[in-house]
Structures are given as structure tokens and as C-alpha cells.
């Protein structure tokens, strides 16, 4: 095959992008506010799942800590976009220059991504020296550490109370653009030299190391890229609901995003995106049932908590019977488009 990896795998981001655009168009055509919010939520989850995939999918190391970067990004949005007067009341400890800053939401998302990337570099430099399981647990400790700091640093994060007044962006288009940006970034990383080296290290660590792949360094690069994507997602998440609390970005969101990635398939970018779409539809259906459905004359409603139980059960069943997820480590491509798509061979689980 003489075609470059770029052209060979180009169909994947294009197809995924088209699916996302289709969702946005449906939201625009329906025009109902709750539905619009649902679609925005799906786009945010796509950003998170792709961010997770960049690290987990390529390195094979499970990270429970990436939502910490979303937390960093979310608070950057709070620090930079709330009106200075309101900031003075809820977060009096901010430095003066930050107190006066008021930037548009897209700039906040970019700054949030940068801020998260800086911290990913700092944490990653330490964590990437660990191997497999120990690294996973250490990322969990990182999540708890960030949560503990943000829940207690009263003057800068308003501790556990909600920070309100973040300008809400209700249009679906910025989220669509961000989701597509995340997909393109993930794809570009996947076909890059670094992505290839990291996947080699995932599948055959000894051989990769012997061929000159510096594994901790490659993991660190993936960690920073994924941290930046999570930071962007976190900032936009803050703008989608207008409120941040440290517990917004803790175990619940970690569980949901991770189960989306697992169900879709950790081994491929398409798996990350389609897992979000699949589980989001399931969650939406269960929410509808929890709210109560009129059957004849009686109302039928599921008790609260069923949503998470069902998610957990789906996740465990998928792991039992189809550990490579819905996509089975394959990418979405055009028929005959390529036999060599990036991320095709996944972890042997």
C-alpha cells in the first residue's frame, strides 16, 4: 500500500464527524430545549471519552484519574468567565489580575485545556514511571488529591458549595465543534509517530523498548494530550450547566465516561465515540422510565438508582462476553477503505 497513513485512515474522523453533525442537525430541527441539552451532554461525553481513549486506548494503562483534569478545566472556566463582581463574593481569594479577567467561553475552554495539560505534564512525569496496575491506582490517588484540594480551598474554589454565574452557552454548535476537534485530535495523535510507538509498547512492551521506544516518555505525551482534551471538556461542561462543584467531577463522572469507553471498545477511537452514543441512548431511556410512564391508567416508574445499576450491569456483561467492546478494536471506515487502520489490534484481553 503506497497511501500514507493519513489518507488511509482519514475516513474514520470524517465518518465520526458526520455522525456528530447528524446529531446536532436533529437537535436543531427538533428545537426543544431539553432535547438540545441532551445532545450537548452527548457531545461533552464524546469529548471526555475521546480524551480517555487517547491515553487508555493507546497505552493500555487504565486511568481512573482523568476526570481530575476536567475538574481543573471546569474551574478555569469559573475563574475566567464569571463577572468580577460575583467572583469577589464567592471566591474572594483569587489574585487581582484573575479577579478582573473576563474572557469569552471559547477562550476559557482553550485556557482550561492548557492549564490541564500543564498539570498532566507535572503529574504524568511522576505517574508514568509506574507500571500497569500500580499506575492505575496512582491515577485514582491523583483524582482524590485534586478533589480534596478543590473541596477544601475555600477562598479560591468556594469549597464544596456550587460556584454559580458561569455564562451558560445553550447553542449546540460550539459543543459540536469541540467534539469534532477532540475526535480529530485523537485521530491525529493515533496515527502520529508517538501514537504508533505507544501502541507498540502496549502490545509488546519488551520488543518496543528494545526497538528504542522510550515507554514512559511516550505515555507522558499521551497523558498530556488527553489531559488537554479533558480540560477543554471540563470547561465546556461548566458552560453547559452554569455551575461547578468539585463533586461534579468525581467518581460519578469517572464511572460514566469509563463505562462508555469500555462498552464502545477501548481499542479504537470509533469505539469511544459509539460507546458514548450507545450508552447515552440507554441512559436517556432509563431516565424516561425513572420519571414515570403512563401505562393504561397507572403510572409505572423505576426507582432512582436503576440507571447506574443498569450501566454497571451493561459494563460487566460487555466485559464478560465482548471484552473488546462493541467495536471490537476496529475503526469505523468505508468498505474496503483499509486493512491497516490505526488502533486496529487492541489489547489482548
Amino acid at each position: 500500500m503506497s497511501r500514507s497513513p493519513l489518507r488511509r485512515s482519514l475516513a474514520t474522523p470524517v465518518l465520526l464527524g458526520l455522525i456528530l453533525v447528524a446529531f446536532a442537525l436533529v437537535a436543531w430541527a427538533v428545537g426543544s430545549k431539553p432535547f438540545n441539552q441532551t445532545i450537548i451532554d452527548i457531545f461533552l461525553k464524546v469529548i471526555f471519552a475521546v480524551g480517555l481513549w487517547v491515553f487508555i486506548g493507546n497505552s493500555g494503562v487504565i486511568s481512573f484519574g482523568h476526570i481530575a483534569f476536567a475538574c481543573l478545566g471546569g474551574y478555569v472556566a469559573a475563574w475566567t468567565t464569571i463577572k468580577p463582581m460575583m467572583k469577589g463574593i464567592s471566591m474572594p481569594g483569587l489574585p487581582d489580575w484573575l479577579m478582573q479577567t473576563e474572557i469569552p467561553y471559547w477562550a476559557a475552554a482553550a485556557v482550561g485545556a492548557g492549564w490541564a495539560a500543564v498539570w498532566a505534564l507535572i503529574f504524568g512525569a511522576v505517574l508514568m514511571r509506574l507500571s500497569g496496575i500500580a499506575a492505575s491506582i496512582a491515577t485514582f490517588a491523583m483524582l482524590a488529591m485534586v478533589n480534596s484540594i478543590y473541596s477544601n480551598w475555600d477562598s479560591v474554589t468556594a469549597a464544596t458549595s456550587s460556584v454559580v454565574g458561569i455564562p451558560i452557552v445553550r447553542s449546540v454548535w460550539p459543543y459540536l465543534i469541540a467534539a469534532i476537534l477532540a475526535v480529530v485530535l485523537g485521530w491525529a495523535y493515533g496515527i502520529s509517530r508517538h501514537g504508533l510507538a505507544l501502541r507498540a509498547a502496549r502490545d509488546e512492551p519488551t520488543a518496543a523498548a528494545a526497538s528504542g521506544v522510550n515507554i514512559p516518555r511516550m505515555r507522558l505525551i499521551a497523558f498530556v494530550v488527553s489531559g488537554a482534551i479533558m480540560g477543554m471538556g471540563g470547561a465546556l461542561y461548566a458552560h453547559s450547566i452554569g455551575i461547578v462543584t468539585p463533586d461534579t467531577f468525581y467518581l460519578g463522572l469517572t464511572f460514566i465516561t469509563l463505562s462508555m469507553l469500555v462498552v464502545g471498545g477501548m481499542g479504537s477511537l470509533s469505539g469511544a465515540v459509539l460507546g458514548v452514543l450507545f450508552l447515552s441512548s440507554l441512559i436517556q431511556g432509563l431516565r424516561w422510565l425513572e420519571a414515570g410512564v403512563q401505562v393504561g391508567t397507572s403510572t409505572f416508574a423505576l426507582p432512582g438508582g436503576v440507571q447506574e445499576i443498569a450501566l454497571g450491569a451493561v459494563m460487566i456483561l460487555i466485559l464478560m462476553f465482548r471484552p473488546a467492546g462493541i467495536m471490537g478494536n476496529r475503526e469505523l471506515t468505508l468498505p474496503r477503505a483499509g486493512s491497516d487502520t490505526p488502533g486496529r489490534s487492541g489489547p489482548t484481553n
Binding site: 493500555g60 494503562v61 487504565i62 481512573f64 503529574f123 511522576v126 505517574l127 514511571r129 509506574l130 507500571s131 500497569g132 496496575i133 500500580a134 492505575s136 491506582i137 496512582a138 485514582f140 490517588a141 491523583m142 482524590a144 488529591m145 480534596s148 484540594i149 477544601n152 480551598w153 519488551t206 467518581l251 464511572f255 469509563l258 463505562s259 469500555v262 426507582p303 432512582g304 438508582g305 436503576v306 440507571q307 447506574e308 445499576i309 450501566l311 454497571g312 450491569a313 459494563m315 460487566i316 466485559l319 464478560m320 471484552p323 489489547p347 489482548t348 484481553n349
Partner: protein, 304 residues
Amino acid sequence: MGSLLQIVFDALSLGSLYALGALGIALIFGVMRLVNFAHGDVIAACVFALLWPSVDAVAIVFAGNLPWFLLIPFVLAVGAGLSVLSELVVFRRFRRANPATMMIASFGLGFVIRYFLLMLFSSRPKSISLLPTLSQPVEILGARIPLLQLITILVTVAVLFGLTAFLRRTRFGLEMRAAAENFTMARMLGVRANRVIMGAFALSGALAAAIALILGSQTGTANIMMGANVMLMAFIATVIGGMGSLAGAVLAGFLLGTVATVMQVILPPDARAFRDAFVYGAVILVLIFRPQGLLSARGTKERV
């Protein structure tokens, strides 16, 4: 003198909790390389086993009314039973899966247990009075120590000795140690794998129940999230102890308890709220210098 002794007892009792938790995680990791994220939720489930399911704010005490000599075995049995059940229903199907897959499955299982509790009991913390006589203080060398702290430490020491004797002196313990060292080899030499794994789960569940009893009487509340913090510290203890090393897990558990207590004392008041963050930071520093843990277990080194 008195206050120093107080610190020592605080450190020991907090360390005991972490050590018991770490032991429960290391036992299972040793035999089947499973990092059991559901452990913390088993702890919470054991506390809720004392109550009758209801979403009202007031807890309806059910099994909690039993006298202590029935109550303690009951809770231990609940913990062991739930843990064995999770192995039968979920983990048995993951024997051939890699550790990362099992770890995510246990994470999912933990959420299922937690939200099952939420469905039955709601997410509001409930106040319970579990073994109230234990909160009375006793005086030792001029320091007033809550009786519970003393019992926590004594129970942990007893559990450690009991477990050591069990692992060293009984046939089952021998099989378990053999399985932890080299599972395939042990199977070939006639160790029944499923029995050993079930035994490890039962022991780990009973340890979770012991933590539940201590936490329940210490805090006087039942909360669906109550196991999470201990579990996290226990995980960290197993990592710094060297994954799969039981002695390392216990040692690291006490070390973490000590570090946390000492930080509580020496940190300036403004920074005390960040105690846990400092502990996690210290852990990351330890891992820089000893990525394989303090005592690395034989058989868990990555082989080429």
C-alpha cells in the same frame, strides 16, 4: 506525655483501619491479580445490613438490635457472603481476563452495589448507634483514649496474628500462599483453585465487615459513600506495600495512618483541611523512589 500518647493511639487506630482494608485487597490480589474496587462498597453494604430497607430519614434498626455476640458474627457473615457472591456471579467469569479488564469490572460492580444501597436506603446519611458503650474514654498514663480506639488496635493485632497463624499453620493457608506465589504451578500440584479463591474472597469480605463495624461505631452514621475513603487509602497502602505482599500491605497501612495523624498535628491550621492531599502527595513521592513498593512480593514482578 499525655498528648504524645494520644497521637500514638490516633496513629495506630487509623493505621489499623487502613491495614485491615489493605489486607482485604492484597489477599484477593495475591491469589487472582484482581484489584477489587468493590471492596469499599462491601464495607458500606455491611453497615447497611444492620438496617431495614427504607428511604425515610430515620433509620429503622433491624439486625442492629442484636446483642453484640450475635451482631458481630452476623455482620462478618454478611461481608463474607456478599464478597463470595460477587466472586460467584461476576469474577468467576473473568478467570482468563487480564488484570485491567477485571479491575474495570470490579469498578462497575462497586457502582452496582452502591446504587443498589441508594435504591433501598436513599443517599442521605443515617444516624445509627452501634455498640455505644465503646465510645467511653479510658485513662492510660494520663491520656484519655476512647475505648473504641483501644479495641480497634487490639482487634487488628488479633486479626493479624490470627491470619498469620492461619496462613502458616493450616493446610488451607498453605494452599493460599502457594497460589499467591505461583497460581499455575499450585494448580498443577493439586491446589483446588476455586476453593482457594473463594476462601480469599470470604476472608476479604469478613475483613471489610470488621472495618464496617469499627467505622459504624466510630462515626455513628451509615452512609453509602462511607467505604470510599478507607478503600482509597487501602489501595494506596497495597501499592506502596508492594502489590500482593500481605506484610507490605499491613506495614504501609500503618505507615499511612501515622503519616496522616502526624500531618494533622504538625500542619498549620490553614493547611489541615488538605491533609489527605498531602498524604496522596507523599505517596506519589514514595513511588518515585520505590516504584515497585516497599516490600515487593515474589511472583508479581513483570517477567520478560
